[in-house]
Amino acid sequence: MADLSVKVGDISLQNPVMPASGCFAIEYQEALDLSRLGALVIKSVSPKSRAGNPTPRVAETHGGMLNSIGIPSKGLDYYRREVLPAYTAFGTPVVVSISADTVDEFADACAEMSLPEVAVIEANISCPNLEADGMAFAMSPDTTYKVVSAIRGRTKHPFWVKLTPNASNIAAVAKAAEEAGADAIVMGNTILGMAIDVRTRKPKLGNVMGGLSGPAIKPIALRLVHQCYRAVRVPIIGCGGISSAEDAIEFMLAGASAVQVGTASFLDPGIMSKIIDGLQAYCVEMGVSHLRELTGQVKLDRQLTDRWLRFAQQSG
């Protein structure tokens, strides 16, 4: 038996597999032993009440799906009273994901949710559905720094910040998050996309645009994780298209300390259990005794480009 436990900053997890926010809820206890997971990440909540976006809210694409759920919310009181308690009974660390419209709202909400029964605050500063054309805090280092430091000033809880693949310079954004005091980076959210029904000519989502997730985006998410890994020292939690143990390993090799599984659960609500089993099998097969030692262990051959160039130079 390999040791699957990992550390994300000061938090120890029995294994690196946790759900991605919005792709998990207590109902999965019917399909999954929630006490087996590394952590339980709940759907984002916003302090403001919202209904969410118009239906249809999902559409499938090649190897993935678009969603424009939005963040339906009944506010923090309701959440604390009616939502949170169900998740705290499994002995598994609970991660509360917060979404908000302004820096102050974010900071207030994170402070308010820094409860003893909550292990981690995850700030979803990247949801592409709520701002015009997908703009979000995490689109620029600036706004990332502002919102993260404001939150940091208000909570002593472990605090992760979830970035968006839509940002063009992820290393700078990740560095801003690190400097502003985030304990870890979740990389990342969905990528803004769109689909049109060519018979009706209508957008397939009521909201016109939505977030792309699933295996289709895996190579992009993996690249972002690796770029973050090269840019910062805080741990990274990989997310985007993970649907097998091999995918999880790939993210760890690229630099992730843990992973989040989103869309894959919709195709098999028991997938996270299978991924954990698969990690164990991989470690046994490959002779890995401590899974956490794989983080960042992609074999990069730093001389390769030089060697190639010298080699190629011979050609006429």
């Binding site: 019917e30 249809p56 090649h62 799906m65 759920i69």
Partner: protein
């Protein structure tokens, strides 16, 4: 002694079941019948009105990504036997239609709530159109077994589309059929028929599925028969099918006010009176 809470091994009530295709054929030019066999006790755990999510096969031409929600058309007699009746419309159902007998496929479930059926009912009425009959067929069986009388109002494009035998499956019923092809399915006509039948037969409950128009009509008619309950099985785009993703919401007008509910979880069966005849979005 170990604490019994900790020692209780986890047992999934919703699971992915690997099944073998035991029977698969066209019922008419648009609908197909599919029977699967699994080693799990699907018959024992699945109730009328529930649905499964089907992992449709992936082929070079057709690559559905999400699972497809399908009502259970029947279960048993073998405990692992489950039946579906489906309309070939898009990518997923087209790929489903390519499945050969003997091949395997996965289904996730059982999902959703159930029709409320009470064996002490005297008479139930079912109002079905199209594939809605797949959803309600298990109800007819429940009624037949409990000796509850059944009135069936069936609506179809034409007599060839009716699937009367597929619906009744041997259960005796007072059947009334209306068709688009001869104009008998026109709203005024159906409304008259419904009112007459309800007035005369006083069913305990009216169930419906498969037509928004019939649903809206029933809501109006039932307003005049407060003693008759009404239930409808609804559809909505789904991703998770388990209440997790919030994609499948519709608004309902409940005793505590208007609320969004998840069709996959609080539904698919809802009181007819609570349906909000929402404008279509998107």
């Amino acid at each position: 002694m170990e604490s019994s809470v900790c020692a209780a091994p986890f047992a999934a009530t919703v699971a992915t079941h690997r099944c073998e295709v035991a029977e698969h054929r066209w019922v008419n030019s648009r609908y197909r019948y599919l029977r699967l066999e699994s080693t799990a006790d699907l018959a024992g755990t699945t109730r009328s009105g529930q649905f499964y999510q089907l992992r449709c096969p992936t082929t070079n031409a057709l690559q559905p990504f999400l699972l497809r929600p399908m009502s259970v058309y029947g279960v048993g007699p073998a405990s692992g036997s489950i039946e579906f009746l489906y309309n070939v419309t898009g990518v997923g159902t087209a790929s489903l239609a390519t499945l050969e007998v003997g091949s395997s496929m996965e289904i996730v479930g059982p999902l959703g709530n159930t029709f409320e059926f009470d064996p002490s009912f005297k008479r139930v009425m079912v109002v079905a159109r199209g594939v809605g009959l797949a959803t309600m067929a298990p109800l007819l069986r429940d009624a037949g077994q409990a000796g509850v009388a059944v009135t069936a109002l069936m609506s179809a494009r034409s007599p060839g589309d009716l699937m009367r035998d597929e619906f009744l499956r041997g259960v005796e019923a007072d059947v009334h059929s209306v068709f688009d092809s001869d104009g008998s399915s026109a709203v005024e006509n159906v409304e008259k028929l419904l009112r007459e039948l309800i007035e005369r037969q006083q069913p305990d409950v009216v169930y419906t599925c498969g037509s928004h128009r019939l649903l809206m009509l029933l809501q109006r008619v039932l307003a005049d028969f407060p003693q008759v309950r009404g239930e409808v099985a609804m559809e909505q785009r789904m991703a998770c099918g388990m209440g997790v993703c919030l994609s499948c919401v519709r608004m309902f007008d409940t005793p505590t006010g208007k609320h969004f509910k998840r069709v996959c979880r609080e539904g698919p069966v809802f009181p007819i009176r609570e349906v909000v005849g929402e404008v279509e979005f998107g």
